[in-house]
Amino acid sequence: MSENFERYQRQLLLKGFGETGQQKLQDAKVLVIGAGGLGCPALQYLTAAGVGTIGIVDDDIVSLDNLHRQILYTTNDIGSAKVVMAAFALEQLNFDIDIIPYNTRLTNQNAIEIITPYDIVIDGTDNFATRYLVNDACVVLNKVLVYGAISQFEGQVAIFNYGTNATNYRDLFPTPDNTILNCEELGVLGVLPGIIGSMMANETIKLITGIGQPLVNTLLTFNALTNQSHQFTISPREETAKFIPANEQAFSEMNYELFCSANNSFDIDANRFDELLNDTNVAIVDVREVGELPLLDFKNVPVPLSQLTQSVYKLNKDTIVLVCQTGKRSTQAAQILLNHFGTTKKIHSLQGGIVNWKKQHAENVG
C-alpha cells in the first residue's frame, strides 16, 4: 500500500473499495457548483475521501446568516469570498488533492469552459436559473450530474445524465416554475443541507468507485421532520429534447435568467408604490406569514399567502398592491388574485419587496 493512502486506511478496509477504489477517487475530477448549504458538506466529505481534483464555483461572500448551515466557514470568514475560504479550509483538511476555486458566477458564457475538464458535476446551487443552466450544460457536454435541492424541511437527491437511457432534470421538471419560493425566503433548518449535501457526496463516491446502487434516474426525497424517505423512478420524456440546447453554440445563446424570471407584469417599483400608499382606492396587502419582520409602518391588510385563496373576499378595493419580503411571494399572490378576479381589479406586486423598498428609502434619506 502506498504511504499516501494511510490517511484513507479506514475506507480502504471496506468491502469492494480497497486500493483500486482509492485510486479511482484520486484520479477523479469533480466540480461543485455552489459553495453554500449543500456544497459545503459535499466538499468536506469529497476532500476528506481523497477525490484528486475538486473545482468550486461560487461568486458569493460569506455572511453571518450563512453560518448556521454552511459549516465550512467561520465567523472570521464573514465578508470574504466563499471559494477562497473554502479552498483554504479544504487544503488544511487534505493537502494531497488539488482544489481549484472559480470565484465567479456560472453563466452560459463560462459554463462550457469551466465544466469541460471535470468528470462529475455536483449541483449545489440555490436558484432555478442556474439549476437549468447546469443541467443543460451537463447534457450538452455529456457530464454526469449529481443533483440535490432543499426546501424548508425537505430535500431531493438524484443522479442525471449517467449511462444508457439517461434522464436529466428536465425529465423531472421540463420547464421552470417561477412560483416556488427559494430557501432564502422560506427558511431552512441548518442540518437539512448537511444531510442532503452528505448524500450527494456519498452518491458521487459510489459513482466513482462503482460500489452500491447510486440514485441513477431515481429521485430520492427526505423529510427531516418525519424521517420519511421515498425513491421515485424517473423516465425520459419525449418533449425534453426540445427544451435542451442542441449544442454548445445554442447553449451560449440561451437566456436562463429571463427564461426563469417570473411574470413581471405585476411589478411596480418603490416610487410608484409610494404614490399608491396614500390612495384610498388602494389596498396594500402584506402576504407574509404572521410574525415576520420588519413590521410595516403604513396601513395594510395582513393576509398570509397560505390563507390568500380563502381570504379573497376581504379584498374589496379596486387596486390591490401585494407586498412581501423580497417580491417573490407577492408575485405568486398576484397570480392567484389574477386567476380569481381576472381583469376586474388592478393587481400589483412591490418589486424587490419590503427589503428593497426600505433600502431605496434609506438611500434617498442618506
Binding site: L38, A149, I150, Q152, D171, I180, H230, T309
Partner: protein
Amino acid sequence: MQVNISIFGPLTDIITKDNLVINDINDTNTLTEQLNKTYPALATIKYAIAVNKNIITNNTILNDNDTVALMPPFSGG
C-alpha cells in the same frame, strides 16, 4: 375505488396537509383538474407527479389503492 395522494414540499402549504384520499377518479389528468378546482393556487405551480413510485410523463389511468405523489421542484441549496 380510492387513491392516496402524498403531497411534498411547499404544496403542503396550499393543500394544508401532506396526504389526501380521493375517491372515484379515473386518471391523473382528472385528478389534477379536480385538485385545481379545490385549490386554485395549485394551478399556477408546475410539479412532477408519480404513480406508485414512478414519475409519469403522460396522463395515467388510476386504479384502486394507487398512490400518487405530487412533487414540486426545490430551488434551495
